[in-house]
């Protein structure tokens, strides 16, 4: 019996050294990884490897020094208790994250960190949990938990498939556009039919599943943006996404 594999074992992707390597940071992999958010990191790493690029997977946990030269950031969802654990650290690194966001660093923020990258989360009992204000959005605790399969349509990425499980309902400010229009499911809140948010090179979303495996268009947007920022170009030989297409088709046919 071997030890449980850790995220540290992921840096072994074969790479063409002449093409270079991207530094991908997962935020709080311990507390904010309840819905397979690691899958998003794995997809980014492999899609780089299939194109001959390397990937260096970094982690930021509460109390760590924030690493330099980060090319792409992935943040996931956690339980309410996990959000409490990371709160102070997230506030401490907020100025760095704001700087990276404004500078155009691509980021994928799912569920809990999507909420906390906003202005605040007002829980049902009126407690206000401050966010870090990277995204102009606010979240209010709802009585109903929104759970189930989601299909949404985005002009930028086509149809988006995923799964949602959240009690917070998110409302976007004026400066922010939604990621997609919901065709099946709830999305940001139970009132509007919007899902997620788009700002600079940030994609925020409630959808896990994980999001990127079945939505390679979003994965490639994040990678292309990061590669162009770092290397000036993204050499994309294309990836065979026929399995992802079939997984999307079958997911779309499933009940809510």
């Amino acid at each position: 019996m071997s030890d449980a594999p850790s995220a540290g074992a992921l840096t072994k992707a074969p790479a063409d050294p002449s093409k270079g390597s991207l530094r991908i940071l997962q935020l709080y992999p311990r507390e904010m990884n309840i819905y397979g958010d690691y899958g998003n990191v794995l997809v980014l790493k492999q899609r780089l490897a299939w194109r001959g690029y390397g990937a260096e997977i970094l982690e930021h946990n509460a109390g760590d020094a924030f690493p330099d030269d980060v090319d792409l950031i992935v943040g996931g969802g956690g339980q309410d208790s996990g959000q409490v654990v990371i709160q102070d650290d997230l506030q401490a690194i907020a100025p760095t994250l704001r700087g990276l966001a404004e500078d155009g660093t691509p980021m994928l923020l799912i569920c809990g960190l999507y909420q906390l990258f906003g202005n605040f989360f007002r829980t049902q009992d009126g407690t206000v949990i401050p966010g870090i204000g990277v995204l102009d959005l606010e979240t209010r605790g709802g009585t109903e938990r929104l759970i189930g399969n989601v299909v949404a349509r985005s002009d930028e990425f086509g149809e988006i498939h995923g799964y949602e499980n959240h009690s917070g309902q998110t409302f976007l400010g004026d400066g922010l556009r939604p990621l997609a229009t919901v065709l099946k499911g709830a999305g940001n809140n139970a009132e509007e039919h919007h899902e997620g948010a788009r700002y600079r090179n940030i994609v925020g979303s409630y959808l896990h599943g994980s999001l990127l495996p079945k939505n390679p268009a979003i994965a490639d947007f994040l990678l292309r943006t990061a590669a162009e920022r770092k290397f000036g170009a993204f050499e994309d030989d294309g990836v065979d996404d026929s399995l992802a297409d079939l997984a999307r088709e079958h997911a779309a046919a499933r009940p809510r």
């Binding site: 019996m1 071997s2 030890d3 449980a4 594999p5 850790s6 995220a7 992999p29 311990r30 507390e31 990884n33 309840i34 819905y35 397979g36 958010d37 690691y38 899958g39 794995l42 997809v43 492999q46 982690e59 946990n61 339980q79 309410d80 208790s81 938990r145 759970i147 189930g148 399969n149 799964y163 499980n165 009690s167 896990h208 599943g209 994980s210 495996p213 079945k214 399995l243 992802a244 079939l246 997984a247 088709e249 079958h250 997911a251 499933r254 009940p255």
Partner: protein
Amino acid sequence: MNPLPVLVGKAVRIASRLRGGGSAFPGLVVERLDPGFMGRALSNLPYGVVVVSGTNGKTTTTKMVVELLEGQGLSVFTNRTGSNFTRGVAAALLGEVDWRGRLKADVAVLELDEAHAVHFVKLVPPRYSLLLNVLRDQLDRFGEIDATTRLLERIALATTGTVVLNREDPRVAGLASSIQAAGVVYFGLDASLRSTFPNDDELRGAAGTAPASALPADVVLRSVDGNSAEFEVEGTTTRTDLRLRGVYNIFNAAAALAAARAVLGGTADNGRLFSSLAAVEPAFGRGESLVVDGQALELVLVKNPSGFRLGLKSFDPAGCATMIAINDNYADGRDMSWLWDVDFDSLGLGGVDVVSGVRAYDMALRLKYDDVRVGAVEPDITDALQQFIRGSDGRPKRIFCTYTAMLAVRRELSKITKVEVVS
């Protein structure tokens, strides 16, 4: 007392059996006619009621506790059909009670689904409860695993005698602080095994670095070597061979030993407990071995990332044909995100022969990202099984499957081979 509801319930039970119908319906009938039936039937057992709950391993662990207690000479009532709802318990009782609704047994050992256990313990406070784990299962049902923990807490609070807790699962061990009416005992792992059983917080990052708990445990699993294991009880370490497969079952054996010892109190015969444990066969679909075309075929039930990881660790893929069947029906959980927290590297060498189930393409996509070769993707389980058996060239076979996929696989296999039917 009016014996009529019991007689009607028994009649419905016989009628629905003749029709080959569901096992819980007669329970529903008797619950409606006589809501006090279950409480009365279970209230006067000399050793009381034992409730087994948690997200994973309930069925096999319940079977172990039953056989351990039977091995000490007790007559045990249990809900063997695996219907772990209150009405399933009521239905099972109908088959055992006399016409006045009285149960002749020393103790009842009942597997209860977390959510249904909360209703059950209001009707019948258990004397003992065994709480196994809170893993990332069924988040689509309960929202958060912390919500599942609160369900187990209600069971613990209703328990009158002793609550048996897993000291290695921080959410389960943490329940001890709220328990007041009952005593608490723990089962646990040796520090060297700690990283083999990651709890839900240890799937990513810092895997297995948590120190073994300092809490004193009644039974400790000291080592596992294939199907043989060492358990420490009362300062004595005993090595025993097991018919159960899978390291998770072997850890649950420590849980079952601790629960049986709690029920037996000072009268436990430890030697006999171990000989009973050695004889326990896997439960329906949980690491069962069948024979198809003269070759062994193993069914391994997988429901969440920890369970799938342990399943992959427990069974060496070398020389074996592998199939994976993933459904997303209500009983499996509709959310597929958990597949991304399982590491499939160990299947890289031999690959996976056939991937099946409603979410076959999600599974195949997952394997692609771990560079695991997939022979065929066939969502239809009947067709997939035929391909798998035809294509496995006499190799032993193993199928990892979610719950409803396991039921479908068994249904199809029973047309090909003799499959043991439980109850």
